[in-house]
């Protein structure tokens, strides 16, 4: 009862919780109009428009816009796809490019003023991406080597003593079918979730301190400063997570294409 009283009068600090991630839909009752969903659509439109404009001319001497688009595309194409997958990499460039730009844009939405919400902190989106990657690398592995050889290579790793299979076979199966997609999605989700929560703590905390007595008011700027500092840190994490997700996908594809794991 006293707690409820505090909350109602607005004097107690309510720490940000998982509920802060579940905002009500913009159009009441329509669950397709929540903030993350709208942001995901916005990201698709923004990425499409930006890259179509940047690549439209395909000039030998690029404009600034084309150069910017090419830099991102070239990074995914050369540093992620070509360097990891090898000679047959062009087939996977569109997928990896989409992955990278989609994750990066939605992550960065987390620190863009007014938007300020990373869609990837809703676990559904990383799940979807991980499932796509999961299907992709298993599919090409099976198509390249046939289902028997592909499964045999996973379950019975070549060049290992037979007794080790007791331990290795379940571990490898778990790695390929459970751990990989799960870690891929949870790593991205957890980073975005925790990062957003951290920013909420410092900014809502600073806001709350500002409403307190004079002593607390003086501390408040430090909380805000920390929040700003963390925003820069978050930017780094957001880029890094987009990179890691795409890199691991490229590595899984490379592994499935290789003759032996």
């Amino acid at each position: 009862m006293p707690l409820v009283h505090l909350l109602r009068t607005g004097e107690g600090f309510v720490p940000p919780s998982t509920n802060d991630f579940n905002l009500p839909p913009v159009i009441a009752g329509n669950e397709y109009t929540t903030k993350p969903i709208l942001l995901v659509f916005l990201s698709v439109i923004m990425i499409s428009v930006f890259f179509i404009l940047a690549s439209r001319k395909a000039a030998i001497v690029p404009s600034k816009l084309q150069f910017a688009g090419e830099s991102i595309y070239g990074f995914v194409r050369n540093d992620l796809a070509r360097d990891n997958i090898g000679h047959d990499f062009m087939r996977f460039v569109p997928y990896l490019f989409t992955l990278f730009t989609f994750i990066l844009t939605n992550n960065i939405f987390g620190i863009v003023p007014l938007l300020q919400f990373p869609a990837m902190s809703h676990v559904s989106f990383p799940y979807v991406l991980a499932i796509f990657t999961f299907i992709t690398f298993h599919y090409i592995g099976i198509r390249k080597q046939g289902i028997r050889k592909y499964m045999k290579d996973i379950m019975f790793m070549p060049g290992v003593p037979k007794a080790a299979y007791i331990l290795l076979t379940p571990l490898e199966l778990a790695t390929f079918f459970i751990v990989r997609p799960l870690t891929l999605s949870l790593r991205l989700f957890a980073n975005m979730f925790a990062g957003h929560l951290l920013l909420l703590v410092f900014i809502l905390g600073g806001d709350h301190l500002l409403k307190g007595v004079i002593g607390l008011k003086l501390i408040s700027p430090f909380a805000f400063a920390f929040g700003i500092g963390l925003t820069f840190f978050e930017f780094m994490v957001q880029c890094l997570q987009a990179y890691i997700f795409t890199l691991l996908t490229a590595l899984y594809i490379a592994g499935a294409l290789a003759d032996e794991h």
Partner: protein, 175 residues
């Protein structure tokens, strides 16, 4: 009571929402199709064009360099040929000059020898002529002189000649 309710209501963040799964899949697929059909081919086109442009430039430069090297070699060859030619020409001229000088010298010597010889011959002839005429004249003069002194004409040709010869022989002996 309210706070407890809040805690109970807080959703497990690991449970996905159906709507978001659908939207995520659709949005991602849409983006994939757009990027694959519109963006990737254009960037690849630009990359290929650029690579070709750079490669073409390099090839052109290599070709030009090759051409220049060939021309340089050609010029060098021509130069050395010309040098060689001039060397032989100089050599030839020198030998020719020497030959001409030699020839001229021989000719001159021959001429000189010929002139000398003819001079010698004419001198000899004149001397002989002079000797002969002198001998005759001296003989006549001496006989005339002797006949005048002796008062006796020595008309006899044979005796006259004998006397003169004897006289000259004596003259030669006394010399």
């Amino acid at each position: 009571m309210h706070v407890i309710n809040l805690a109970a209501e807080s959703a497990n963040p690991l449970i996905p929402h159906t709507a978001e799964l659908i939207v995520g899949a659709v949005a991602f697929t849409l983006l994939f199709l757009v990027l694959r059909s519109k963006v990737v081919p254009m960037f690849e086109k630009a990359f290929t064009a650029r690579t070709e442009a750079i490669q073409g430039g390099i090839e052109r430069a290599e070709k030009a360099q090759l051409e220049a090297q060939r021309a340089l070699a050609q010029y060098n060859e021509q130069l050395s040929k010309a040098r060689e030619e001039s060397q032989t020409m100089r050599e030839e001229a020198r030998t020719q000059g020497v030959a001409i000088i030699e020839e001229l010298r021989a000719k001159a010597q021959e001429e000189a020898a010929r002139i000398t010889a003819s001079a010698h011959a004419s001198i000899e002839a004149e001397r002989q002529q002079a000797i002969t005429s002198l001998r005759n004249e001296v003989g006549t003069i001496a006989v005339e002189l002797a006949s005048k002194i002796v008062g006796e004409a020595l008309d006899d040709q044979a005796r006259q000649s004998r006397v003169v010869d004897r006289f000259l022989d004596d003259l030669e002996k006394s010399k």
